[in-house]
């Protein structure tokens, strides 16, 4: 049976892992390669590197970070943050990324999804959606959550799928970094609307939150950052907990 995936995300700035709350107040959380090595030992299913500044200088640092992390783990590795062109995606793939995650650029030019899906296959193209509750629905924000894209998250997820996206990485901006639990309603709304896997993100704080997002939220995978970085919740402990709850997990 296909297992639910537990994904560790590293928000990277200038080669270091940082983590904020609701996209603000960044603090340092360590060296990406050292963290990746620990996650691998603990049984993480997948790793995501998000370059959260994506300035020209940090882009060069990013390629080094990707290479360093890819050297540590033989697991699927996704890279996102500031990928705005086919060349940016190629640089990430050449450095060792298996998948690229598009956000702002996908909304600006959805044809980039199709271009990359043709070149690398849909399985290599993730569309990241930063969503926020609004008027009873879910709005989409871009530019690291600073700009309202005036789109509906469910509608955009459907369009991304039709353009060739292989997965959706769905972040609740309301819950990001709060440890209040995933937004299961948001996750289920998107997961039920598309036929590609949905990775839930934003709000993981305890073991129960993961169980909730896999059952009530219909998520295919769940992503977290800070709770894994600071080792509040070990990946192995989380997986044993989910397994005991009858959720299919790779132990």
């Amino acid at each position: 049976m296909l297992t639910k995936r537990i994904i560790a995300c590293m928000d990277v700035r200038d080669g270091q892992v940082v983590k904020g709350v609701q996209f603000q107040q960044l603090r340092h959380a360590g060296d990406p390669a050292a963290l990746a090595r620990r996650y691998n030992v603990e049984g993480i299913d997948e790793v995501v590197i998000l370059d959260i500044t994506a300035t020209l200088e940090s882009r060069r640092a990013l390629a080094q970070t990707i290479r360093a992390v890819a050297h540590e783990i033989f697991l699927p590795l996704t890279v996102g943050g500031g990928i705005g062109s086919e060349d940016d995606a190629a640089a990430a793939v050449d450095a060792g990324a298996d998948k690229v995650s598009l956000n702002t650029a996908a909304l600006r030019s959805p044809e980039l999804i199709t271009t990359l899906a043709r070149r690398y296959g849909s399985q290599a193209v993730i569309v990241a959606i930063d969503a926020k509750r609004r008027n009873g629905g879910f709005g989409v924000f871009v530019r690291s959550g600073t700009t309202d894209a005036a789109r509906d998250a469910v509608e955009w997820a459907r369009q991304a799928e039709s353009r060739g996206a292989g997965e959706i990485l769905l972040t609740s901006m309301d819950r990001d970094g709060t440890r209040a639990g995933f937004d299961c309603e948001l996750t289920a709304a998107v997961a039920d609307a598309v036929n590609i896997p949905v990775i839930a993100s934003g709000g993981a704080g305890g073991l129960d939150h993961f169980a909730d997002v896999f059952t009530r939220g219909h998520a295919d995978a769940a992503l977290a950052a800070s709770i894994f970085h600071y080792a509040d919740t070990g990946v192995a402990e989380l997986k044993r907990f989910l397994h005991a709850r009858g959720i299919p997990i790779r132990i």
Partner: protein, 203 residues
């Protein structure tokens, strides 16, 4: 020396990285003739079955010829599908036909949320205990898949995986081996499988 066949679909980075970590030497041949010199051949693959059409008749003859001469061949993902007669994904593109059967689209099961593509870690059900490729692994070992098409479970299948329906996760016929999953992204289990292939190839 292993020949890693590059037909331009996606990247070989992770396969190269895994081979390097296992201490294996490899080349990416520029011309089909180099296949004859290799101790083993690996055809990696991601993406669309049509991409395998870049392996023109010269490449096909060279690879099939090397296998006839006793060289082990491992196909990964689309590289495994290419070992069969063909695929529904690109009916006009012939496979190498070293293994009987045709690949077809997995159906999934929307009611049970079994989505296509089949992405993630799933269990191997070993169907032939004498597999050299899977030596040392037991049923239930998890490996990483990402695909929409798959080969049927036939007598050459050494491990099946179920996603709404069973399909061939690993195939083995004489010196021809294939895995639908990505051993280079399947942690220690995947590295063990690659190690087995290197060992049986004396690489």
């Amino acid at each position: 020396m292993i020949a890693l066949i590059d037909y331009g679909a996606g990247n070989l980075t992770s396969v190269k990285k895994a081979l390097t970590s296992l201490g294996a030497e490899f080349v990416v041949p520029d011309s089909p003739a180099q296949c004859a010199e290799a101790k083993a051949l690996i055809v990696p693959g991601v993406g669309h079955f049509a991409a395998t059409s870049a392996l023109d008749p010269q490449w096909r003859d060279a690879i099939a010829g090397a296998v006839r001469a006793g060289t082990p061949l491992l196909g990964i993902c689309v590289g495994m599908q290419w070992l069969y007669e063909g695929s529904e994904e690109a009916p006009e593109v012939p496979g190498l036909g070293l293994v009987e059967g045709r690949c077809r689209l997995l159906r999934g099961n929307a009611a049970e949320r079994l989505k296509i593509p089949h992405v993630g870690w799933n269990a191997l059900e070993v169907t032939r205990g004498t597999s050299r490729l899977l030596a040392g692994l037991s049923s239930g070992a998890h490996v990483y898949f990402t695909h929409s098409y798959a080969a049927p479970v036939t007598p050459d299948c050494v491990a099946a995986t179920t996603h709404a329906e069973p399909f061939a996760a690993a195939v083995e016929r004489d010196r021809v081996f294939g895995v639908q999953f990505h051993p280079e992204k399947s942690g220690e289990t995947g590295l063990r499988i690659l190690r087995n292939f290197l060992d049986l190839s004396s690489c």
